[in-house]
Assembly symmetry: C2
Homo-oligomer: 214 residues x 2
Protein backbone atom coordinates (compact mmCIF):
# COMPACT_ATOMS: atom_id res chain seq x y z
CA UNK A 1 0.00 0.00 0.00
CA UNK A 2 1.34 3.41 -0.97
CA UNK A 3 0.24 4.94 2.29
CA UNK A 4 2.20 2.44 4.35
CA UNK A 5 5.33 3.02 2.28
CA UNK A 6 5.04 6.74 2.74
CA UNK A 7 4.55 6.34 6.45
CA UNK A 8 7.65 4.20 6.83
CA UNK A 9 9.72 6.56 4.75
CA UNK A 10 8.90 9.58 6.86
CA UNK A 11 8.60 7.94 10.21
CA UNK A 12 10.86 10.28 12.10
CA UNK A 13 11.06 13.53 10.21
CA UNK A 14 7.40 14.27 10.16
CA UNK A 15 7.90 17.45 12.13
CA UNK A 16 10.51 18.59 9.61
CA UNK A 17 8.23 17.59 6.77
CA UNK A 18 5.39 19.63 8.20
CA UNK A 19 7.65 22.65 8.34
CA UNK A 20 8.87 22.08 4.80
CA UNK A 21 5.30 21.86 3.55
CA UNK A 22 4.37 24.97 5.51
CA UNK A 23 7.36 26.78 4.03
CA UNK A 24 6.42 25.77 0.49
CA UNK A 25 2.87 27.08 0.87
CA UNK A 26 4.13 30.09 2.77
CA UNK A 27 6.60 31.31 0.14
CA UNK A 28 4.11 30.58 -2.64
CA UNK A 29 0.94 32.10 -1.21
CA UNK A 30 1.93 33.96 1.95
CA UNK A 31 1.16 33.27 5.57
CA UNK A 32 -2.50 34.28 5.51
CA UNK A 33 -3.30 31.65 2.87
CA UNK A 34 -1.30 28.93 4.63
CA UNK A 35 -3.87 27.07 6.68
CA UNK A 36 -3.35 24.01 8.86
CA UNK A 37 -5.61 22.05 6.57
CA UNK A 38 -3.59 22.99 3.49
CA UNK A 39 -0.35 22.01 5.17
CA UNK A 40 -1.94 18.69 6.11
CA UNK A 41 -3.14 18.12 2.55
CA UNK A 42 0.34 18.94 1.23
CA UNK A 43 1.92 16.12 3.23
CA UNK A 44 -1.15 13.87 2.89
CA UNK A 45 -1.91 13.65 6.57
CA UNK A 46 -4.95 14.51 8.61
CA UNK A 47 -5.12 18.13 9.87
CA UNK A 48 -5.05 17.03 13.48
CA UNK A 49 -1.71 15.28 12.97
CA UNK A 50 -0.12 18.73 12.81
CA UNK A 51 -1.08 19.26 16.42
CA UNK A 52 0.97 16.26 17.48
CA UNK A 53 4.09 18.14 16.38
CA UNK A 54 3.19 21.80 16.74
CA UNK A 55 1.26 23.28 19.61
CA UNK A 56 -0.80 25.62 17.48
CA UNK A 57 -0.55 27.81 14.42
CA UNK A 58 1.60 30.43 16.12
CA UNK A 59 4.08 27.63 16.85
CA UNK A 60 4.41 27.08 13.10
CA UNK A 61 4.66 30.83 12.59
CA UNK A 62 7.55 30.90 15.04
CA UNK A 63 9.24 27.98 13.26
CA UNK A 64 9.00 29.93 9.97
CA UNK A 65 10.27 32.98 11.81
CA UNK A 66 13.35 31.00 12.90
CA UNK A 67 13.76 29.62 9.39
CA UNK A 68 13.79 33.19 8.11
CA UNK A 69 16.50 34.22 10.53
CA UNK A 70 18.57 31.25 9.39
CA UNK A 71 18.39 32.55 5.81
CA UNK A 72 19.06 36.07 7.02
CA UNK A 73 22.17 35.30 9.06
CA UNK A 74 23.48 33.11 6.27
CA UNK A 75 23.39 36.14 4.01
CA UNK A 76 24.85 38.63 6.42
CA UNK A 77 27.63 36.37 7.71
CA UNK A 78 29.91 37.17 4.79
CA UNK A 79 29.81 40.87 5.64
CA UNK A 80 32.02 40.20 8.65
CA UNK A 81 34.79 40.24 6.08
CA UNK A 82 34.29 43.94 5.34
CA UNK A 83 37.04 45.46 7.39
CA UNK A 84 36.14 49.15 7.53
CA UNK A 85 33.37 49.34 10.13
CA UNK A 86 31.47 52.16 8.47
CA UNK A 87 31.49 50.40 5.13
CA UNK A 88 30.42 47.23 6.90
CA UNK A 89 27.50 49.14 8.39
CA UNK A 90 26.55 50.38 4.94
CA UNK A 91 26.79 46.88 3.52
CA UNK A 92 24.66 45.49 6.34
CA UNK A 93 21.94 48.03 5.67
CA UNK A 94 21.89 47.27 1.97
CA UNK A 95 21.87 43.53 2.65
CA UNK A 96 18.99 43.99 5.09
CA UNK A 97 16.96 45.83 2.48
CA UNK A 98 17.83 43.34 -0.24
CA UNK A 99 16.76 40.48 2.01
CA UNK A 100 13.40 42.12 2.60
CA UNK A 101 12.92 42.62 -1.15
CA UNK A 102 13.95 39.05 -1.98
CA UNK A 103 11.95 37.38 0.80
CA UNK A 104 9.04 39.64 1.71
CA UNK A 105 7.08 36.77 3.28
CA UNK A 106 9.96 35.82 5.53
CA UNK A 107 10.52 39.47 6.40
CA UNK A 108 6.90 39.76 7.40
CA UNK A 109 6.97 36.75 9.71
CA UNK A 110 10.31 37.91 11.16
CA UNK A 111 9.65 41.58 11.80
CA UNK A 112 6.04 42.53 11.16
CA UNK A 113 3.73 39.78 12.36
CA UNK A 114 2.66 39.51 15.97
CA UNK A 115 2.07 35.76 15.88
CA UNK A 116 5.65 34.53 16.41
CA UNK A 117 6.15 37.07 19.20
CA UNK A 118 2.88 36.01 20.80
CA UNK A 119 4.01 32.40 20.66
CA UNK A 120 7.21 33.29 22.49
CA UNK A 121 5.40 35.20 25.18
CA UNK A 122 2.58 32.76 25.83
CA UNK A 123 4.43 29.44 25.44
CA UNK A 124 7.93 30.44 26.57
CA UNK A 125 7.53 33.38 28.93
CA UNK A 126 10.90 32.83 30.58
CA UNK A 127 13.04 33.57 27.55
CA UNK A 128 13.02 36.55 25.27
CA UNK A 129 13.68 36.92 21.56
CA UNK A 130 16.96 35.10 20.75
CA UNK A 131 16.81 35.64 16.97
CA UNK A 132 16.33 39.36 17.23
CA UNK A 133 18.95 39.78 19.91
CA UNK A 134 21.54 37.88 17.96
CA UNK A 135 21.11 40.03 14.87
CA UNK A 136 20.98 43.22 16.90
CA UNK A 137 24.15 42.17 18.68
CA UNK A 138 25.98 41.94 15.35
CA UNK A 139 24.79 45.42 14.50
CA UNK A 140 25.79 46.62 17.96
CA UNK A 141 29.35 45.39 17.44
CA UNK A 142 29.66 47.12 14.09
CA UNK A 143 28.34 50.37 15.53
CA UNK A 144 30.82 50.01 18.38
CA UNK A 145 33.64 49.52 15.88
CA UNK A 146 32.47 52.63 14.04
CA UNK A 147 32.69 54.57 17.26
CA UNK A 148 36.19 53.24 17.87
CA UNK A 149 37.01 54.56 14.41
CA UNK A 150 35.73 57.98 15.44
CA UNK A 151 32.16 57.97 14.14
CA UNK A 152 29.17 59.31 16.12
CA UNK A 153 30.87 59.14 19.48
CA UNK A 154 28.39 61.44 21.19
CA UNK A 155 25.56 58.98 20.65
CA UNK A 156 25.00 55.86 22.74
CA UNK A 157 25.93 52.62 21.04
CA UNK A 158 22.57 50.99 21.81
CA UNK A 159 20.63 54.00 20.60
CA UNK A 160 22.67 54.19 17.40
CA UNK A 161 22.22 50.47 16.74
CA UNK A 162 18.47 50.54 17.25
CA UNK A 163 18.17 53.77 15.28
CA UNK A 164 19.96 52.22 12.31
CA UNK A 165 17.82 49.10 12.52
CA UNK A 166 14.74 51.30 12.64
CA UNK A 167 15.63 53.19 9.51
CA UNK A 168 15.89 50.06 7.38
CA UNK A 169 12.97 48.37 9.10
CA UNK A 170 10.79 51.42 8.54
CA UNK A 171 11.64 51.34 4.85
CA UNK A 172 11.16 47.61 4.43
CA UNK A 173 7.97 47.31 6.43
CA UNK A 174 6.23 50.25 4.75
CA UNK A 175 7.31 48.87 1.40
CA UNK A 176 6.03 45.36 2.13
CA UNK A 177 2.72 46.46 3.62
CA UNK A 178 2.03 48.53 0.51
CA UNK A 179 2.26 51.95 2.15
CA UNK A 180 4.95 53.08 -0.29
CA UNK A 181 3.10 52.08 -3.45
CA UNK A 182 1.69 55.49 -4.20
CA UNK A 183 4.22 57.49 -2.21
CA UNK A 184 7.07 56.60 -4.51
CA UNK A 185 5.64 58.10 -7.68
CA UNK A 186 4.28 61.14 -5.85
CA UNK A 187 7.83 61.85 -4.70
CA UNK A 188 9.22 61.87 -8.19
CA UNK A 189 6.41 62.37 -10.67
CA UNK A 190 8.68 63.18 -13.60
CA UNK A 191 11.47 60.80 -12.61
CA UNK A 192 10.32 57.31 -13.33
CA UNK A 193 13.57 55.73 -12.24
CA UNK A 194 12.99 56.86 -8.68
CA UNK A 195 9.92 54.68 -8.32
CA UNK A 196 12.07 51.63 -7.96
CA UNK A 197 14.89 53.14 -5.95
CA UNK A 198 13.07 54.86 -3.11
CA UNK A 199 14.39 52.43 -0.51
CA UNK A 200 17.92 52.79 -1.78
CA UNK A 201 17.66 56.59 -1.98
CA UNK A 202 16.39 57.04 1.56
CA UNK A 203 18.93 54.61 2.93
CA UNK A 204 21.67 56.52 1.17
CA UNK A 205 20.34 59.71 2.69
CA UNK A 206 20.65 58.13 6.13
CA UNK A 207 24.20 57.02 5.46
CA UNK A 208 25.02 60.49 4.22
CA UNK A 209 23.64 61.94 7.43
CA UNK A 210 25.63 59.72 9.76
CA UNK A 211 28.72 59.88 7.60
CA UNK A 212 29.16 63.47 8.73
CA UNK A 213 29.22 62.42 12.35
CA UNK A 214 32.95 61.81 12.48
Amino acid sequence: MGIRERKERHKENLKAQILEAAKRLFVKEGYAATSIRKIAAEIEFSPTTIYLYYKDKSDIAYALHQEGFLLFRERLAVLELVEHPFERLRAMGRAYIQFALDHPDFYEVMFIMREPMDYLETHHPEQDWPEGERVLDGLFQTIHACQQAGYFNDIGTQEMAILSWNVVHGLCSLHITGHFRSIAEKCAPHQDFKKDSLLEDVFQAYMKVIERMK
Copy 2:
Protein backbone atom coordinates in the same frame (compact mmCIF):
# COMPACT_ATOMS: atom_id res chain seq x y z
CA MET B 1 -37.32 64.76 -3.36
CA GLY B 2 -37.36 65.30 0.37
CA ILE B 3 -38.11 61.66 0.78
CA ARG B 4 -35.03 60.62 -1.04
CA GLU B 5 -32.97 63.01 1.03
CA ARG B 6 -34.30 61.59 4.23
CA LYS B 7 -33.59 58.12 2.99
CA GLU B 8 -30.11 59.13 2.18
CA ARG B 9 -29.71 60.60 5.61
CA HIS B 10 -30.97 57.44 7.24
CA LYS B 11 -28.67 55.41 5.07
CA GLU B 12 -25.72 57.54 6.03
CA ASN B 13 -26.85 57.21 9.58
CA LEU B 14 -26.75 53.44 9.55
CA LYS B 15 -23.44 53.49 7.75
CA ALA B 16 -22.09 55.78 10.45
CA GLN B 17 -23.63 53.57 13.10
CA ILE B 18 -21.89 50.53 11.69
CA LEU B 19 -18.60 52.38 11.75
CA GLU B 20 -19.17 53.52 15.31
CA ALA B 21 -19.89 49.97 16.40
CA ALA B 22 -16.85 48.72 14.52
CA LYS B 23 -14.73 51.40 16.18
CA ARG B 24 -15.97 50.45 19.64
CA LEU B 25 -15.12 46.78 19.16
CA PHE B 26 -11.91 47.70 17.41
CA VAL B 27 -10.47 49.88 20.17
CA LYS B 28 -11.62 47.42 22.82
CA GLU B 29 -10.47 44.13 21.31
CA GLY B 30 -8.40 44.98 18.25
CA TYR B 31 -9.03 44.47 14.58
CA ALA B 32 -8.49 40.70 14.51
CA ALA B 33 -11.30 40.17 17.03
CA THR B 34 -13.66 42.57 15.27
CA SER B 35 -15.77 40.33 13.07
CA ILE B 36 -18.63 41.33 10.79
CA ARG B 37 -20.98 39.27 12.92
CA LYS B 38 -19.90 41.02 16.12
CA ILE B 39 -20.38 44.43 14.54
CA ALA B 40 -23.85 43.34 13.41
CA ALA B 41 -24.70 42.09 16.89
CA GLU B 42 -23.49 45.38 18.38
CA ILE B 43 -26.00 47.41 16.34
CA GLU B 44 -28.61 44.64 16.48
CA PHE B 45 -28.80 44.06 12.75
CA SER B 46 -28.25 41.00 10.66
CA PRO B 47 -24.65 40.40 9.53
CA THR B 48 -25.60 40.75 5.88
CA THR B 49 -26.91 44.26 6.45
CA ILE B 50 -23.30 45.37 6.83
CA TYR B 51 -22.73 44.46 3.19
CA LEU B 52 -25.41 46.93 2.08
CA TYR B 53 -23.20 49.74 3.38
CA TYR B 54 -19.66 48.37 3.13
CA LYS B 55 -18.34 46.37 0.22
CA ASP B 56 -16.37 43.96 2.37
CA LYS B 57 -14.29 43.82 5.50
CA SER B 58 -11.35 45.67 3.98
CA ASP B 59 -13.79 48.51 3.27
CA ILE B 60 -14.44 48.76 7.01
CA ALA B 61 -10.72 48.52 7.65
CA TYR B 62 -10.20 51.47 5.33
CA ALA B 63 -12.94 53.45 7.08
CA LEU B 64 -11.18 52.84 10.41
CA HIS B 65 -7.93 53.78 8.73
CA GLN B 66 -9.46 57.11 7.72
CA GLU B 67 -10.91 57.56 11.18
CA GLY B 68 -7.42 57.10 12.61
CA PHE B 69 -5.97 59.75 10.33
CA LEU B 70 -8.70 62.11 11.45
CA LEU B 71 -7.60 61.67 15.05
CA PHE B 72 -3.98 61.92 14.01
CA ARG B 73 -4.27 65.17 12.07
CA GLU B 74 -6.39 66.65 14.83
CA ARG B 75 -3.49 66.09 17.18
CA LEU B 76 -0.75 67.31 14.93
CA ALA B 77 -2.58 70.40 13.69
CA VAL B 78 -1.63 72.46 16.73
CA LEU B 79 2.06 71.93 16.01
CA GLU B 80 1.79 74.29 13.07
CA LEU B 81 2.09 76.94 15.75
CA VAL B 82 5.66 75.96 16.61
CA GLU B 83 7.59 78.55 14.75
CA HIS B 84 11.13 77.24 14.69
CA PRO B 85 11.06 74.53 11.98
CA PHE B 86 13.57 72.24 13.65
CA GLU B 87 11.67 72.37 16.93
CA ARG B 88 8.48 71.75 14.99
CA LEU B 89 10.08 68.68 13.45
CA ARG B 90 11.04 67.46 16.91
CA ALA B 91 7.55 68.08 18.22
CA MET B 92 6.02 66.26 15.27
CA GLY B 93 8.18 63.23 15.90
CA ARG B 94 7.26 63.13 19.56
CA ALA B 95 3.59 63.60 18.76
CA TYR B 96 3.79 60.79 16.21
CA ILE B 97 5.26 58.43 18.80
CA GLN B 98 2.78 59.51 21.45
CA PHE B 99 -0.10 58.91 19.07
CA ALA B 100 1.13 55.37 18.39
CA LEU B 101 1.42 54.71 22.13
CA ASP B 102 -2.01 56.15 22.88
CA HIS B 103 -3.81 54.49 19.97
CA PRO B 104 -1.90 51.33 19.02
CA ASP B 105 -4.92 49.84 17.27
CA PHE B 106 -5.41 52.87 15.09
CA TYR B 107 -1.70 53.01 14.39
CA GLU B 108 -1.82 49.42 13.25
CA VAL B 109 -4.69 49.95 10.85
CA MET B 110 -3.07 53.15 9.58
CA PHE B 111 0.51 52.08 9.03
CA ILE B 112 0.97 48.36 9.56
CA MET B 113 -1.99 46.46 8.16
CA ARG B 114 -2.23 45.56 4.50
CA GLU B 115 -6.02 45.45 4.43
CA PRO B 116 -6.78 49.18 4.01
CA MET B 117 -4.09 49.46 1.34
CA ASP B 118 -5.48 46.42 -0.43
CA TYR B 119 -8.93 47.99 -0.39
CA LEU B 120 -7.57 51.12 -2.04
CA GLU B 121 -5.79 49.16 -4.74
CA THR B 122 -8.54 46.71 -5.58
CA HIS B 123 -11.61 48.95 -5.25
CA HIS B 124 -10.15 52.33 -6.17
CA PRO B 125 -7.18 51.64 -8.43
CA GLU B 126 -7.25 55.09 -9.98
CA GLN B 127 -6.36 57.02 -6.86
CA ASP B 128 -3.51 56.54 -4.46
CA TRP B 129 -3.20 57.02 -0.71
CA PRO B 130 -4.63 60.46 0.17
CA GLU B 131 -4.28 60.12 3.96
CA GLY B 132 -0.62 59.19 3.80
CA GLU B 133 0.21 61.81 1.25
CA ARG B 134 -1.44 64.56 3.24
CA VAL B 135 0.52 63.75 6.38
CA LEU B 136 3.74 63.29 4.48
CA ASP B 137 3.16 66.63 2.80
CA GLY B 138 3.03 68.35 6.19
CA LEU B 139 6.29 66.69 7.11
CA PHE B 140 7.74 67.68 3.75
CA GLN B 141 6.97 71.32 4.37
CA THR B 142 8.57 71.29 7.79
CA ILE B 143 11.68 69.62 6.41
CA HIS B 144 11.75 72.23 3.67
CA ALA B 145 11.52 75.01 6.26
CA CYS B 146 14.38 73.38 8.16
CA GLN B 147 16.47 73.47 5.02
CA GLN B 148 15.60 77.13 4.50
CA ALA B 149 16.87 77.64 8.04
CA GLY B 150 20.14 76.00 7.09
CA TYR B 151 19.63 72.42 8.23
CA PHE B 152 20.67 69.36 6.17
CA ASN B 153 20.84 71.19 2.89
CA ASP B 154 22.89 68.54 1.17
CA ILE B 155 20.08 65.98 1.49
CA GLY B 156 17.01 65.89 -0.73
CA THR B 157 13.82 67.15 0.90
CA GLN B 158 11.82 64.07 -0.06
CA GLU B 159 14.52 61.73 1.17
CA MET B 160 14.83 63.58 4.44
CA ALA B 161 11.06 63.59 4.96
CA ILE B 162 10.69 59.88 4.30
CA LEU B 163 13.77 59.11 6.37
CA SER B 164 12.34 60.97 9.34
CA TRP B 165 9.01 59.25 8.92
CA ASN B 166 10.81 55.92 8.77
CA VAL B 167 12.65 56.46 11.99
CA VAL B 168 9.50 57.03 14.02
CA HIS B 169 7.53 54.41 12.10
CA GLY B 170 10.26 51.84 12.69
CA LEU B 171 10.13 52.57 16.40
CA CYS B 172 6.36 52.53 16.67
CA SER B 173 5.76 49.49 14.52
CA LEU B 174 8.38 47.33 16.23
CA HIS B 175 7.00 48.45 19.58
CA ILE B 176 3.41 47.66 18.67
CA THR B 177 4.13 44.28 17.08
CA GLY B 178 5.97 43.22 20.23
CA HIS B 179 9.46 43.08 18.75
CA PHE B 180 10.80 45.51 21.33
CA ARG B 181 9.45 43.68 24.37
CA SER B 182 12.63 41.83 25.18
CA ILE B 183 15.01 44.17 23.38
CA ALA B 184 14.39 47.02 25.76
CA GLU B 185 15.55 45.29 28.92
CA LYS B 186 18.48 43.64 27.14
CA CYS B 187 19.67 47.11 26.21
CA ALA B 188 19.66 48.37 29.77
CA PRO B 189 19.67 45.40 32.14
CA HIS B 190 20.58 47.42 35.20
CA GLN B 191 18.61 50.50 34.24
CA ASP B 192 14.96 49.78 34.73
CA PHE B 193 13.89 53.23 33.73
CA LYS B 194 15.14 52.68 30.20
CA LYS B 195 12.64 49.92 29.59
CA ASP B 196 9.91 52.48 29.19
CA SER B 197 11.86 55.14 27.38
CA LEU B 198 13.48 53.24 24.55
CA LEU B 199 11.34 54.95 21.93
CA GLU B 200 12.09 58.37 23.35
CA ASP B 201 15.81 57.61 23.68
CA VAL B 202 16.23 56.42 20.12
CA PHE B 203 14.20 59.30 18.76
CA GLN B 204 16.37 61.72 20.70
CA ALA B 205 19.44 60.06 19.25
CA TYR B 206 18.04 60.69 15.77
CA MET B 207 17.35 64.32 16.56
CA LYS B 208 20.85 64.66 17.94
CA VAL B 209 22.26 63.22 14.72
CA ILE B 210 20.38 65.56 12.39
CA GLU B 211 20.85 68.53 14.69
CA ARG B 212 24.51 68.56 13.72
CA MET B 213 23.61 68.88 10.06
CA LYS B 214 23.48 72.64 10.06
